[in-house]
Symmetry: C2
Subunit: 223 residues, 2 copies
């Protein structure tokens, strides 16, 4: 039995990969309205195979988003070995915003349910983990103020992504400009500057905020 | 005729005021789901009078948002006379975020159609005008870097409002903390810092971006 299972799993994995590749190609060509039937056809698998892997198109989109997040995480881990910790951190921020912009239709499609998806939630925690490591390294090198945390930075990045999305047709340079302002915000302040008010928010805070939002959303739908 | 019109207009204005006051009170007590019939009743006007002034509840909500924006603009104009131009600017930013947070349900309700409403569009232009004046004054005083414009600052503020909204149930202090980071971003950089990339976006850019978004939205609905 055990020897039979391996090729089966490899087969299943290959089919899953084919569906993901076909979906990414078709979404890229024609947007997210492409039907799942067409995706199955392009992938060369039956609709049953597609549905077994991805019960809804939202599951499929979420799986692609997780792949994109994993690429960002991998890039972040590489950058942990870069020579200049400050440059490495800003490379990661720029890279992350660039990826989000390149696939913003996908990210927008999962925005409402973002952390409700277990795969996205796990990848999100890993993004914060690698950002935290890059940030600490940059802080130890004196390149970044010591009173900010990874979630502070992530909030600033979210603003950058939104500004970039709103202006993408008018001025594609807006993300770079807002990132420069984030850079300035994170630069160690001069002697007489005040410390940030409050405490650095944590991953746990984000997850709780998301759960509260979900609860309120559900209550609003019932009410 | 001319002498008859004046009391009529005053009457109409009084009714409009009553409807706005009743709507604000009821929205505050029970949220935006309150029906217009109940608002007319509380205001002591007929439904016809309400509909003549506000054809839909969205018009009513937009009118309240415009009032809130006008209050922010008035506060900004006052602050133009304050002694310390840097403190005045940050007071305005903190005040603006505070107002948006206090009435975030109203602002969220008009978010999608924001600049499509002529009243909101005019108030929005005035907000940028007063922010621009406060910013220039702070820049002349050396309190703020000279390579940012009002729209750059507004984009940063939008990020602060979103972070504050997402965390309002978990950590109400998040807005203050993110505002401190905005403060740091706007502080004149030390000698060896790089200038911001690109050019400062303008009011015209925002209005064009909004129109492009509207067009894309309309195309998506048709397609």
């Amino acid at each position: 039995m055990a020897t039979d299972e391996k090729p089966l799993r490899a087969d299943a994995e290959r089919n899953r990969r084919r569906v993901l590749d076909a979906a990414q190609a078709l979404f890229g060509e024609r947007g997210l309205d492409v039907g799942v039937g067409e995706i199955a056809q392009r992938a060369g698998v039956g609709r049953g195979t597609l549905f077994r892997n991805f019960p809804t198109k939202e599951h499929l989109i979420a799986a692609i988003v997780v792949e994109r997040m994993n690429e960002a995480i991998a890039r972040g881990r590489e950058l942990l070995a870069a020579d200049d910790p400050g440059v490495a951190l800003y490379d990661f921020l720029e890279d992350t915003v660039g990826r989000q912009q390149a696939d913003r239709a996908l990210f927008e499609a999962v925005e409402e349910t973002f952390l409700a998806n277990p795969g996205i939630r796990a990848a999100h925690a890993e993004v914060i983990e690698v950002l935290d490591a890059l940030l600490e390294r940059a802080q130890r090198a004196g390149a970044v103020r010591t009173d900010v945390g990874a979630v502070d930075v992530l909030m600033l990045l979210k603003g950058v992504c939104q500004a970039a999305t709103a202006f993408s047709h008018i001025d594609p340079g807006i993300a770079a400009r807002q990132l420069d302002l984030v850079h300035a915000a994170l630069t160690p302040p001069s002697g007489n500057a005040q410390a940030l008010r409050g405490r650095a928010p944590t991953l746990n805070d984000i997850e709780r905020a998301f759960e509260v939002d979900e609860t309120l959303g559900a209550a609003a739908e019932l009410g």
